[in-house]
C-alpha cells in the first residue's frame, strides 16, 4: 500500500485557485509594491513576474481570511479548531529523504546574497524589508529540534535581524548557546504548507517536535532533508531555505519596527543577528510574503480556538461552536456557544478568560449562530442584564502591544496587566426558553419562491 503523502505549498496554491481564491497578476511588479497591491486584492495574490528578479514569482495573502485558512485545512470554516485539535492529538513523525526540491539550486559563499531575493517592504513605518512567512528550525543538544516562526528584517546581503524578544523555545536555545559563547545554527524555510506554519505557531512542550504535529495535521509524514551547511533538517518541498546562524551577540542589534499582528506598528527592539551561510531553493521558486497582520491573525485562530475548547471541556462545559474574531486579531476575544446547564454560562466565561491573553469572552446558548453578528447582537440584547451577567476580572496578565495596558508607564522590564471582561449571553436562569421563541412566517414551507419568479 502506498503511504499517504502530505499536501505541499503548491497543492495549497492550486486549491486556492480552484476555489476562486487566488488572483494571478501577469504584469511585472516592483518588489516594493507587492504588499500595497496585495492589500487591494480580495483574493490571495500571485505575481507572475517581479521586476529585477526574473527567476522568482511572488505569492501572498494566502490565509488572509477564515475561508482561505479553512481551504488550507480542508475543512469547513466552523471546524478549524476541531480540525486542529484532531491533528495535534495524532502526531506523525517526519521522515528523512535524500533528494529535495528545496535544494535544486544552491548558493553558497558570496553567492548566498539576500539581495537576490524579492524581499518586499510591507508597511510605511517598518524598519526595513521583511521576510515574514518563516519556518525557523533550531536544535539544542538536550531538548532536540524546535520549529517556530520569526520575522526577519533585511540588514545586509548576508545578515538579517530576527525578533527573538518574546519567550519561546528558540529563545531558550539561543540563550544556552550564548552562555557558551557559540552561535546557534538555524535554518529558515519559506514557502511551506499552512499546516507547517500552524504547527510552528502552536506552543508545543519543548520536547515535542513541531514537524510531528504538522504530520498529524497532514495525516502523513512531513518529508525533511538535511541542510547543506548546518546540522538541521527542513521540509523538502519548501520553496526557499536560508541556512546560517544566530551570532552570539545577545540582544544588541536594532530590529523593527514592524507592523504587528495587533494591526499597529511596534517599536524598535534589540535582537540578535542572523548570518546566512547558504541559500537553497527550487528551480522555479515562488517567494511567499506573509501579509501582516491578516495572515498572522488567521494562523493564530485555530490555536486559540482549540485552547478555548479545551478550557471549556476541563471546566465540564459542553462547547458547540467557538470563534476568535479577526477584529480581536484572533487572539484577544473568544465567542462560544454551549449546551448550557444552570450556572454554566459563568463557568464557561471563567474558562475562556483563562486562555492566554483573552480579555473579552462572550458565551451564548447553542441556538445562537455565533458567526452571525446580528444573531450575536440579539443574544447580547435580550439575554444579558449588565448587573448580573457581566464579569470583570482585574489585574490579569496582559500583553505589551495592547496600548490600553499603558505598558509605557511601567519602565524597562515591567510586565503589564489587563482587566478581562466576560459576558454571559445565555438565557438567564429562571427565564423560560419559550420567551425566546422566534417569529415564524405563515406558510413559509408551503410556498416556493421559484414558482413566482
Amino acid at each position: 500500500m502506498t503511504p499517504p503523502t502530505k499536501q505541499s505549498f503548491r497543492d495549497f496554491l492550486q486549491r486556492l485557485e480552484e476555489a476562486g481564491e487566488l488572483r494571478r497578476l501577469k504584469k511585472g511588479v516592483d518588489a516594493r509594491h507587492v504588499s500595497g497591491l496585495m492589500a487591494q486584492v480580495r483574493e490571495a495574490s500571485f505575481f507572475e513576474q517581479v521586476i529585477g528578479y526574473p527567476e522568482w514569482r511572488v505569492v501572498g495573502a494566502l490565509v488572509s481570511t477564515r475561508r482561505r485558512l479553512a481551504l488550507g485545512m480542508a475543512c469547513a470554516e466552523s471546524e478549524i479548531a476541531t480540525r486542529f485539535e484532531e491533528g495535534i492529538r495524532r502526531p506523525v513523525e517526519p521522515r528523512l529523504v535524500r533528494d529535495a526540491p528545496c535544494q535544486e539550486v544552491v548558493w553558497e559563499g558570496d553567492a548566498a546574497d539576500l539581495t537576490r531575493l524579492p524581499i518586499p517592504l510591507m508597511h510605511v513605518k517598518d524598519g526595513g524589508p521583511y521576510i515574514s512567512g518563516t519556518l525557523v528550525v533550531s536544535k539544542d543538544p538536550e531538548y532536540g529540534r524546535n520549529v517556530g516562526s520569526y520575522r526577519m528584517m533585511y540588514r545586509t546581503p548576508r545578515e538579517t535581524g530576527i525578533d527573538l524578544v518574546s519567550p519561546s523555545d528558540m529563545r531558550v536555545y539561543y540563550q544556552r548557546a550564548l552562555d557558551q559563547g557559540r552561535p546557534l545554527p538555524i535554518a529558515v524555510a519559506v514557502g511551506v504548507h499552512p499546516y507547517e506554519l500552524l504547527a510552528a505557531a502552536y506552543k508545543a512542550p519543548i520536547d515535542i517536535d513541531e514537524f510531528a504535529i504538522a504530520g498529524g495535521l497532514h495525516g502523513a509524514p512531513v518529508d525533511l532533508v538535511r541542510c547543506r551547511t548546518v546540522d538541521l533538517e527542513v521540509p523538502a518541498d519548501a520553496e526557499l531555505v536560508l541556512e546560517g546562524e544566530l551570532l552570539p551577540i545577545g540582544w544588541t542589534a536594532d530590529e523593527g519596527p514592524f507592523g504587528e499582528f495587533s494591526h499597529i506598528t511596534g517599536e524598535v527592539k534589540w535582537n540578535p543577528i542572523f548570518r546566512v551561510r547558504a541559500i537553497t531553493h527550487r528551480r522555479d521558486p515562488i517567494f511567499y510574503v506573509l501579509q501582516m497582520p491578516w495572515e498572522n491573525d488567521w494562523l493564530a485562530a485555530p490555536v486559540i480556538e482549540a485552547a478555548g475548547l479545551q478550557a471549556l471541556r476541563v471546566a465540564s462545559v459542553q462547547p458547540v461552536a467557538i470563534r476568535a474574531p479577526v477584529g480581536s486579531c484572533c487572539y484577544w476575544s473568544l465567542i462560544a456557544s454551549i449546551k448550557k446547564r444552570p450556572g454554566e454560562g459563568k463557568n464557561a466565561l471563567l474558562a475562556l478568560l483563562s486562555v492566554a491573553e483573552v480579555k473579552l469572552a462572550i458565551v451564548t446558548d447553542e441556538d445562537i449562530d455565533i458567526y452571525d453578528p446580528d444573531e450575536l447582537d440579539w443574544a447580547l440584547t435580550f439575554r444579558v442584564q449588565a448587573d448580573q451577567d457581566v464579569l470583570i476580572v482585574p489585574g490579569a496578565r496582559g500583553k505589551h502591544i495592547d496600548p490600553s495596558v499603558r505598558a509605557d508607564l511601567l519602565g524597562k522590564g515591567g510586565l503589564p496587566t489587563t482587566a478581562k471582561l466576560g459576558i454571559d449571553a445565555t438565557i438567564p436562569e429562571g427565564v423560560p426558553k419559550s420567551h425566546y421563541e422566534r417569529l415564524r412566517y405563515f406558510a413559509k414551507d408551503a410556498v416556493r419562491l421559484e414558482d413566482y419568479l
Binding site: 516592483d30 518588489a31 516594493r32 521586476i51 529585477g52 528578479y53 539576500l114 539581495t115 537576490r116 524579492p118 524581499i119 517592504l121 508597511h123 510605511v124 513605518k125 517598518d126 524598519g127 526595513g128 524589508p129 533585511y154 540588514r155 545586509t156 546581503p157 545578515e159 536594532d254 523593527g256 519596527p257 506598528t265 517599536e267 524598535v268
Partner: protein, 61 residues
C-alpha cells in the same frame, strides 16, 4: 561605499528618516541595487535609531 550608499548616509545626516522615506527617495533605483547600498550603510555602522524608529547618523562616539 557606493555612490548610492554615500548619498543615503548624507540624507540621513540631514534629518532622521523612516526607512520607507529613504526607499521613496530612491524609487528610480532598482530594488536590488538599493538593498545592496542599504547593506553597505548598515555595515558601516554609522546609524542609530530614534524613538519613532527613524534612522539617523550617529554623531557622538
Amino acid at each position: 561605499m557606493s555612490e548610492l550608499a554615500t548619498r543615503i548616509v548624507e540624507e540621513l545626516r540631514q534629518r532622521p528618516r523612516q526607512f520607507s522615506e529613504v526607499v521613496e527617495a530612491h524609487l528610480d533605483v532598482a530594488w536590488r541595487e538599493f538593498l545592496y547600498a542599504w547593506g553597505e550603510v548598515r555595515s558601516a555602522d554609522v546609524l542609530e535609531r530614534d524613538d519613532a524608529g527613524r534612522y539617523r547618523v550617529r554623531t557622538g562616539p
